[in-house]
Symmetry: C2
Subunit: 515 residues, 2 copies
Amino acid sequence: MESIWLNGTWTAAHALDTFRTMNPATGEALEGEYPVSSWQDCDLALNAAQHAFVALQKVAAEQRAAFLEAFARAIEARASELTETAHRETALPVRPRLADVELPRTTTQLRQAAQAARDGSWMQPVIDTKLNIRSCFAPIGPVVVFGPNNFPFAFNGVAGGDFAAAIAAGCPVIAKAHPLHPATSRLLAECARHATAVTGMPAAPLQMLYHLQPEDGLRLVADPRVGATAFTGSRAGGLALKRAADEAGRTIYLEMSSLNPIVFLPGALAERVDALVTETADSGLAAAGQFCTSPNLLFVVDGPHTDAFVQGLSSAYASRNPAPLLSHAGRDALHRSVQALTAAGATVRTGATPQSGSPGACYRNTVLQVSGAQFLAQAEALQKEAFGNVTTVVHCTDHAELLRALETLEGNLTASIYSAEDSADDALYHEVAARLRPRCGRLLNDKMPTGVALSPAMNHGGPYPSTGHAGFTAVGIPRSIQRFCALQCYDGVRQDRLPAALRDDAPARAAGPVA
Amino acid sequence: MESIWLNGTWTAAHALDTFRTMNPATGEALEGEYPVSSWQDCDLALNAAQHAFVALQKVAAEQRAAFLEAFARAIEARASELTETAHRETALPVRPRLADVELPRTTTQLRQAAQAARDGSWMQPVIDTKLNIRSCFAPIGPVVVFGPNNFPFAFNGVAGGDFAAAIAAGCPVIAKAHPLHPATSRLLAECARHATAVTGMPAAPLQMLYHLQPEDGLRLVADPRVGATAFTGSRAGGLALKRAADEAGRTIYLEMSSLNPIVFLPGALAERVDALVTETADSGLAAAGQFCTSPNLLFVVDGPHTDAFVQGLSSAYASRNPAPLLSHAGRDALHRSVQALTAAGATVRTGATPQSGSPGACYRNTVLQVSGAQFLAQAEALQKEAFGNVTTVVHCTDHAELLRALETLEGNLTASIYSAEDSADDALYHEVAARLRPRCGRLLNDKMPTGVALSPAMNHGGPYPSTGHAGFTAVGIPRSIQRFCALQCYDGVRQDRLPAALRDDAPARAAGPVA
């Protein structure tokens, strides 16, 4: 049985059980047996993280930055091994996805976090020299990260965006690795171990558990030793953790389900229906539709090009080979979601069954269709997320029905509007945008939502239930760091007792607002 | 029966019941009968606020600012009437408290909010011109404000800090006025009506209800038409609302109970014990101890001046006349809290009974004392808030016991440390500060916590359970505005469709971070 990463060393778990993994592309069992940790392991991780938090407060920002950069280099040094391992565990292709996109994304995030740790802008110091009142953001304490199944590197609790943001602020991480890619997580933890050693970190900034029983997860996020929790995953899992954290008064950030609605306005379809079909299929089928921002819900209004769009999309989905999903269990869950959608009135244009004759976790690329009237009648049921290569087209009779349908949308991470290049769609655009804007975190024009750029202007967040708080983002440094901060004020505190960033001679002082 | 303020007009309530008020200084009934609103009134207020939210989005920031300033002027124009009315309802003195401190504080907040609305810094625009990704904070929707009993102007849902911050962001307010000062709230709403009219606001930015049944309050904060709720009041009330809001995925900010611990280090007592006694009594008995930041819990270590401090404080409390509390019910609740504290092991140094022979809601100024060992044994019970003129001294045997006791503290709004002017206390200071810092929002040196300056550097917030989220403050513009914001991103959106603050020609563009 593999060891867990605790207190700077590989440690035998107090396991309640063990689990093994399977290559989702082949159905073959993979090597390695991993522990399902007991609460005792959580308790040890919490104590270690609490100790590390105290130690990290005494570490200069420069050393945290050096650690993050050393971690990035360590990942690059083992890139082949990492991408091969992740490929076996997830079936995501080594190239371009893992080696050319996700691994560089991960190291970029670590380096951006290093830069943020160094420049300290996330602290947002405000100094009132007249009253000698000063405040800034400070690390909130140990951060628990629940990583998702769909990004073995970039959202992994051990090395991904949440990890990078927490460390940038000075918060140690307790990672609950995703049980679909434990070998990848183990390798990443090894890279973190190496980076900790070469940069002389005083205590392990990372603890890693492979798997937990659900009740121990709930207990973990409610524990008073935890500063905050970041979760990326399903709505059901996220809401259960939210309830436990809320009840205990603990801070939790959730990145849950999102359908990422796209509205195709008539002028756009008239102008470039074939291009839009291709663009939608490319985005909707990328990674077999297993992105948080995959376009799962498309809105069109009856018109001369509407049937061509729906027919074209169905043909495109039918003609492409489905990529394997991340697990056989995920394929089965996807099928149950499709059945729920058809039970709610959606009709099948193509797909809607597992891919026969494949040992892999493949599901046929699926396009469902529903009328605007039916969507309005079953708005909640038809917003059930189907995580995978499934897209539902809502075919509205007219503009009024479209607008009413948009008003039933739950909170989403993204929403997109495609409109004519000229002003043909402008009037309708504004009506549509007014309805989508409060219901999403990122509003796009003529662009698919599946690229989540590592930009300081990015918002990978949105209204509930896409997340738990519309004021925060999980991607985009430095803003993503704010999740792991407490606001701390110093009133009448003597100069030599202030944090460096709040002293009269602080380098950042000139930059921050001064009253 | 008085009318409620709905949709820009005084409207007859759908009342389930009515209530009357009493002058807490005299016990005399005051004029006026006020409605306890039914859900129907809440529903009307929600619809009106939703309508106002849409209308407010089309209003220039300058007009919002003008409204806030006109509101401040309207309050000043009726200052005598307001302070006399509030005095009758709360027993707080007209001068200096109401006329010279709280009313100017209220108008200053409104004007600071106006300035923030105008300069737009709260939007924090970030523009990535290379990728054409832009984001900023935007108003989250209608804001419900539950005002507390202890600040009839400055924290009133109708005119106080939460109101000002919400309007600055462009969020209309539904105020649940506090039932201990309905006539004051009515007058403030009249001032808001006047300001709405003279500045030509398109829809009423304020709805006001006087009172609700508890179950309707829970339903209100969970309603999907609400963007966020701000609550200031008791822990029990706040936690009930939090549960309802959390369960529905609605955003809520709470400013609940806080004991505001003060640690007097030995060197400070040696240097200036008499001055510290006076300073503590002045702060602890100000407004009969009914501030969110009143010092309710004092820590001292056994030493040559400790008894002098405790004895001096007891004498000072005993010798001063108790001011009336805000209500007779509050006096009774205070007495129950004192009984709970003594049941948990605190001994009475002075007070601990209602003031006899007074028609007013007076309670004898009370000093309780408990040993460090007893505090450690009953840490939770001895942290029960006693809202009023009651202070508990924890007398620790030595430094180690003091530090252990501090480690049991719940989250507080403030924590203060008094130390010697020279370096005599420095070593202990750092040990104490390390324990207090993560347990409070504002850390003070040699200063009582009861002044909450209107500074952009202020943090009137803190770790749970003093608030519901340690990342936000209820006082200090512009930061307090962030509570009522959603992060909104625009990706690939055409220039003419962007909010003004995110366009290439935005005046703020030069100031915001640009990637």
